[in-house]
């Protein structure tokens, strides 16, 4: 059998995969509990437009997608306020806008279609050292910010109105969190692909909810499950020649199934 660790590109995959396996569920747990599970999905479509823009004007696609995602999340907030009673409209509209812009920008750019496929379905093999370094730096940024604002995020997630009344700067924390979500989506899509980003943000958190006894545990198990999914998924995809993004998500679904069974057994 081939030894997976003798390949540089696999080492890079494990490194970058390891980083996103921590930040995706970390951010995702808050999203799920704020009933914003759809957010990751929407933003990853927008991120695709950012990638296309990056190709077109020749900047790093990850940077391009971070900029697009941050801009669009403020757009979502705006729309959410003007469609107050149908707030899910804002998410659907922004998702369509993201896809439309992505498609148009791609048709304008001369970049090879293979490149965009990497972002749609994720590609381990095409990760270079810059990608690894970028995902390390951004992951550290995400973890640090969540560590710093942990208690505020917990309160806002639990009860936004009560948090506001008790003097927590809710708007400021929400803006910071939005940017953290944007970064996480942009970094993760390089590995699992735009189509599966939200899976990695949502599924481990959903599994964790079945067994966690407090909020700290919820985050801990979500990261643990995601870590296992990413590593097992990468190894499976290597030996069985499957799509890595797809394999990662399937493993996470199996874990979620096991967590549900454990809960039912209790």
């Amino acid at each position: 059998m081939l030894n997976i660790f003798t390949y540089d590109f696999m080492i890079r995959a494990f490194l970058a995969g390891g980083f996103i396996s921590v930040i995706a569920p970390l951010v995702g747990s808050f999203l799920v509990l704020r009933r914003l599970s759809q957010m990751g999905d929407t933003l990853s479509h927008v991120a695709l437009a950012g990638v296309a823009a990056g190709f077109l004007i020749g900047i790093n696609p990850t940077i391009g997608s971070i900029i697009f995602v941050i801009l669009s999340s403020f757009g979502i907030e705006r729309l959410r306020k003007s469609y107050f009673r149908y707030s899910e409209i804002s998410i659907a509209v922004v998702m369509s806008a993201g896809m439309a812009i992505a498609v148009i920008l791609l048709s304008l750019s001369s970049g090879s279609p293979a490149n965009i496929m990497n972002y749609l379905f994720g590609s381990i093999i095409s990760i270079n050292n810059t990608d690894v370094l970028l995902s390390l730096i951004l992951s550290i940024a995400v973890i640090t910010v969540i560590y710093i604002f942990y208690k505020e995020l917990l309160y806002i997630t639990f009860d936004e109105e009560a948090a506001l009344i008790s003097g927590i700067p809710v708007n400021l924390v929400n803006i910071i969190f939005t940017m953290i979500v944007a970064i996480t989506v942009a970094v993760s899509m390089r590995i699992v692909g735009a189509l599966l980003v939200s899976a990695l943000m949502v599924i481990p958190a959903a599994a964790s909810l079945k067994i966690a006894k407090n909020f700290r545990q919820t985050i801990f198990y979500a990261i643990l499950f995601s870590f296992i999914s990413v590593f097992a998924g990468i190894i499976l995809s290597f030996y069985l020649n499957l799509s890595p993004g797809g394999s990662i998500v399937i493993v996470s679904l199996i874990i979620m199934g096991l967590a549900s069974i454990k809960k039912a057994g209790n």
């Binding site: 509990l33 009933r35 710093i148 604002f149 208690k151 505020e152 917990l154 309160y155 997630t157 639990f158 009860d159 109105e161 009560a162 948090a163 009344i165 008790s166 003097g167 927590i168 700067p169 964790s208 909810l209 966690a212 006894k213 407090n214 909020f215 700290r216 545990q217 919820t218």
Partner: protein, 257 residues
């Protein structure tokens, strides 16, 4: 006795709907005030005005003589909102975590909870007799137990005034009794001024030191004498009220007065 809460000619409207009509109210330090009135009469709005969550369109709200919006130490105000247990019931937070949230605003950004802070959390849970449940998930408790946890959350910041908005709604009679005992202790031993909203006229009359009534956005200060004629009650409540519904408690009050 010093005035702890003072409302002067307070008016408030949601959009163009007038909800509070020239409210004047003074509450002394150490009082236990029951605020009663039918649904929609503006009780919750009045409480939100008093804690500074809503701003009156005219008039003044003073806490300890300072405009409520200018208070630096917001932690002196404790608030248990109406239906605070209508939060997402499957939220994976432990009782301990929920109570600790009451400290976050006081601590400020960038500060983590210290060992002493967790002790304060434990103490608040002891006061509401929920310490044995501190590691339980909040969603696995009964309505009455959850309400006690939310009171503990309001207590950790060491408030001087505690506002409770219909804390007994949806909990059984026995839990209600426990709750009133806790509030009595907080008021008498911990010297916390309490303002409690309820729409049940009779249930609280022997629990509190004073009752004020709301009706149609106005405040009526003389309902503690309980000598309304039916006509006046209709005026306050907007519909006829059966005076003989709670015979037993009614008699108690009359004896007491």
């Amino acid at each position: 006795m010093s005035k702890i809460v003072e409302l002067k000619n307070v008016n408030f409207s949601y959009n163009d709907k007038k909800v509070l009509n020239n409210i004047n109210l003074t509450i002394d330090d150490g009082e236990f005030v029951g605020l009663i009135g039918p649904n929609g009469s503006g009780k919750s709005t009045l409480v939100k005005i008093m804690i500074g969550d809503l701003t009156p369109s005219s008039g003044e709200v003073l806490i300890n003589g300072i405009n409520v919006k200018d208070i630096k130490k917001r932690s002196i105000i404790g608030y248990v909102p109406q239906k605070s247990y209508s939060f997402n019931a499957s939220f994976p937070a432990s009782v301990k975590e929920v109570v600790s949230m009451g400290l976050y605003g006081k601590l400020g950004l960038f500060k983590k909870l210290s060992k002493d802070d967790w002790e304060i959390v434990d103490n608040a849970l002891k006061i509401v007799d929920m310490i044995d449940y501190k590691d339980r998930l909040i969603g696995n408790l009964s309505g009455g137990q959850q309400q006690r946890v939310f009171i503990a959350r309001a207590l950790v910041s060491d408030p001087k005034i505690l506002f409770l908005d219909e804390p007994t709604t949806g909990i059984d009679a026995k839990s209600e009794d426990t709750l009133y005992k806790i509030l009595d202790t907080l008021n008498k031993q911990n010297k916390i001024t309490i303002i409690m909203v309820t729409h049940d006229v009779w249930a609280i009359s022997d629990k509190v030191s004073r009752i004020v009534c709301m009706g149609n956005g106005r405040l009526y200060d003389r309902c503690d004498t309980l000598d309304f004629s039916k006509k006046e009650l209709v005026e306050i409540y907007g519909y006829p009220v059966k005076l003989d519904m709670h015979h037993h408690q009614n008699e108690n009050i009359n004896n007491r007065l």
